[in-house]
Amino acid sequence: MNEIKRIYRDKPNPRPNRARQLITNFNFVVGLTLLSVTIFIAVLAPLLATDDVNKADPRASFMPPSANHWMGTDKLGRDIWSRFVFGGRVSLVIGLSAMVIGMCAGTVMGIFAGFYGGWIDSAISWITEVLMAFPGILLALTIMAILGPGVNNVILAVGIGTIPQFMRMARSAVLKTREMDFIDAARTIGCSDARILFRHILPNIIQSVIVLATLGIGSAILEGSSLSYLGLGAQPLTPEWGSMINAGRTFLQNAWWVSVFPGLGVFLAILSINMLGEGLSQVFDPVNQ
């Protein structure tokens, strides 16, 4: 009896406990905490703000951080902390909405390309390759040149820029799923193409699409804030981290706080998502085990 027990005890656990691995993973825990704080700040902005975001006070311009103004004031004497919390809202909304646009458009395109193949596949693949020929921020810049400045246009421009990655992922996932038996079975019982695509194939790939979208929010925030930094995004009255950094750029010498706090905001938002992604891949990616 004892011997059998010992053998049983030495056998390695065949299925590691993912949840336990996740909550003990440094990157995952820190990333999740940072992300929660960022979302908390953005959601509760009206409660956290100590002042009206656009209340100018010429006598109080460029005040350093103090008890009254936690992050100091800018050129017009506006309270940076209040603009910071509302700016986080705008930046997060830009990142999230852009990802949703890119995710929906890209996934639908990828599903069609992968499912139908042939010339539809070639055409859609060609479009995404052309989009990918504009690396990094260049595509978003080109689209902004056409649409003109504004927050909504930034969302659209960044969103279109993320289409290719979703399209490619959905397409290759569909190519793998298409040949499976349950698709044949669905066809045998008379399902329409649309039904197969959206009831049988989409649920199979949605999980990886959502993971990709979550991890992409970081770079979407980065691109959105870069566009605002260049003066193409949020207009002066709307607080947004990128445009706040830009507004403080010329006063760096005397008033570092105008740029540095919103910059830290962008940094922490992106870092939280990157750490979350790193933690997830450390636990779930077989390469890391």
Partner: protein
């Protein structure tokens, strides 16, 4: 090999055509009259606009307009800038060397340090050193390059006064801060890729065989693992090169540097469409060319690619 080469070049050509269609359509999908877009803010009489419309060929059918546009582009005629009436092609040729200089220096810095840090990290994998390096990598990657640039200016130009933020043309010190701002993120991005690639190769079986033959650890690394890590590394570097070129758009305008990126931003701010078309097309064309060269390089070093 020739078969593969032919197919690859054909794909690149079709992408270049797509790029030109997109930049051509830019003016036509703009709300409003394309002629007024071209003329810009200048006030002109309706007769003059009509004459310009005929002169610029806007009365032709769209496909014919596109072919003319493409023909002019191929011959190096990208129109004239609305702002200063100078040929766009000349302006780009003036500014491109500055940007290429910045991009090449940045890529050199990031390649050297990225590979070194990556290999070091992989050699000490899962140790405290590796974990600290991984954390630093993730943090540096998360800082927007334009914010890195501002922090560097704050530290080195404002406080320490070592390097001027905006250098005169010809002053080599003017390259340091822009190159470092662009390179920092790229160094750690490359380091992560190299680290993961080395660890993945180490986990395969052939290093065990090499070890059992009596090869030393550095020997295994140099002779067996690094050649296999070459392909993902070269991919990463080629991606970085074009991303640095695109990233120069933001960095050049921070440091008020001359360059194609600054030119593109200027074009967008002034609604100078010929200038935007020219700069965007040139950057996209560089991307396509770099990509093609990388793919051909794979085919040369890896028979699985050209035969597959």
């Amino acid at each position: 090999m020739w078969n593969y080469l032919g197919r690859r070049l054909l794909t690149s050509l079709s992408i270049l055509i797509g790029v030109s269609v997109l930049t051509f359509l830019m003016i036509h999908v703009m709300p409003g009259d394309p002629v007024k877009v071209i003329v810009g803010r200048l006030t002109t009489s309706p007769e003059r606009i009509e004459a310009l419309r005929e002169e610029l060929g806007f009365n032709d059918p769209i496909p014919l307009q596109y072919l003319n546009y493409l023909g002019r582009f191929v011959r190096g005629d990208m129109g004239t800038s609305i702002r200063n009436n100078r040929p766009v092609f000349d302006q780009i040729m003036e500014q491109l060397p500055n940007t290429l200089q910045l991009a090449l220096i940045t890529v050199t810095i990031s390649t050297i340090f990225g590979i070194l840090i990556g290999i070091f990290s992989a050699a000490t994998k899962y140790s405290l050193v590796d974990r600290v390096l991984s954390f630093i990598s993730l943090s540096v990657i998360s800082i927007p390059p334009f914010f890195i640039a501002l922090l560097l200016i704050l530290l080195f130009s404002v406080h320490l006064k070592w390097i001027p933020a905006v250098a005169k043309t010809g002053d080599p010190r003017g390259l340091i801060l822009p190159a470092v701002s662009l390179a920092l993120g790229e160094i750690f991005w490359l380091a992560r890729i190299v680290r993961n690639a080395v660890i993945e190769e180490t986990n395969k079986l052939y290093p065990n065989l090499a070890k059992s033959k009596g090869l030393s650890r550095p020997g295994i690394l140099m002779k067996h693992i690094l050649p296999n890590v070459l392909i993902p590394t070269v991919t990463a570097i080629s991606i970085q090169l074009v991303y640095i070129l695109a990233g120069s758009v933001v960095i050049e305008s921070i440091f008020a540097r001359q360059g194609i990126g600054g030119l593109a931003v200027l074009g967008i701010k002034n609604q100078d469409f010929p200038l935007i078309q020219g700069t965007v097309t040139v950057l996209a064309a560089i991307y396509v060319v770099v990509n093609t060269i990388t793919d051909i390089f794979y085919a040369v070093v890896d028979p699985r690619v050209r035969l597959g």
